[in-house]
Amino acid sequence: MMKKELGSFVIGDGRRCTGCKACELACFMVHNQKSNHVGMTVGTVGVPVVPRLYLTRFEQGCMPIQCKHCEDAPCLNVCSKGAISRIEHQVVVDEQLCIGCKDCMQACPFGAITLLPYAKDGCLVPQSGSSETKVFAAKCDLCKDIPQGPACVNACPHQALRLVDPEAEREEKNIKAANALFYMKNW
């Protein structure tokens, strides 16, 4: 097996997605289990439901849109606080460092980042010197701290989300293309 050099990402399938938002809820749940004591039931939710992927409706249907963990990530390149970094090939936002400047939101060509309210220990965190809630750049971190892998992929009832390992998939497709050449060799 070749050494991993590219970031993985989750991609949605617009043909399968029914727009149920189970992915958004699962994402919110796993990211707030520790920090905000959110459990499996609605009663445990005391903070705004803030996902890191965005169910998007468009003319032909709907599908979740999330970060592609770009290899020359525009969000990482524009962040003046150094709050976005690459950890084990994935592009990750440090919520504590983020000052909500919106630069990353403008730089991302996919709309994969939105500024959303920041909560800790079950309470919304206020901005220093104001009663307004602190916001942070919410985007997919590929569930880096969650052992079962991306929660959205596991939660989807229609298998409309897929975790992509770009290098492994490219090699598989290469082999298929080579086999096809075998049948075309004599034109």
């Binding site: 590219l6 390149n77 060509p109 770009p166 490219r170 050449l181």
Partner: protein, 187 residues
């Protein structure tokens, strides 16, 4: 119609000369003189070896390229019978890599360019049919067994025409029980 290079698994011996030819023509002959550790080898075609065959796989320069449709920053375009990547615009999002059904695109580091956090910048890399190179695709020229061919629109259409004529002849001969070589008339 776009042109493309096609490998023949019956003739390919898996020597990887095509890959070396590709790198030399895109990077210059100095690669033979410098320290191999200071250089990253990025061929634009991939040698596939399975138990059954060996053949290089490269971009097919599709007429409706999936990579071009998937690109979020319009870095992929068609020009001069080929599909090209504008690497300065590319942000390395891997959408094209996921979209390509042949595994013809990979992500490679850009020498001397770093992202803001100091990590290597990676952009999409694929066959450009040796644009601007006299004598056409280097892989075709260097292959010691002539296992690679540049397929042009004229050749592809000639081929289809020839096959249509052959199938018309054989159908005709079958129906009229005539000799295959005297298909010219009905009498």
């Amino acid at each position: 119609m776009n042109y493309f290079v096609k490998g023949n698994p019956d003739l390919c011996i898996g020597c990887r000369t095509c890959m070396i030819g590709c790198v030399v023509v895109h990077e210059g002959k100095h690669i033979f003189e410098i320290d191999p550790d200071s250089y990253t080898f990025h061929p634009k075609l991939h040698m596939v070896k399975t138990a059954r065959l060996s053949v290089p796989v490269q971009c097919k320069h599709c007429e409706n390229p999936a990579c071009m449709a998937a690109c979020g920053v319009n870095a992929i375009y068609q020009e001069d019978h080929r599909v090209l990547i504008h690497t300065e615009t590319c942000i390395g999002c891997k959408a094209c890599m996921d979209a390509c059904p042949f595994g013809a695109i990979d992500m490679v580091t850009v020498a001397g360019v770093r992202q803001k956090d100091g990590s290597e910048k990676k952009v999409a890399n694929k066959c450009d049919l040796c644009q601007g190179v006299a004598g056409g695709p280097a892989c075709v020229r260097v292959c010691p067994t002539q296992a690679l061919t540049l397929v042009t629109e004229e050749e592809l259409e000639d081929l289809a025409k020839r096959k249509r004529m052959e199938s018309a002849r054989s159908t005709f001969c079958e129906v009229y029980h005539c000799d295959e070589f005297s298909y010219g008339g009905r009498e």
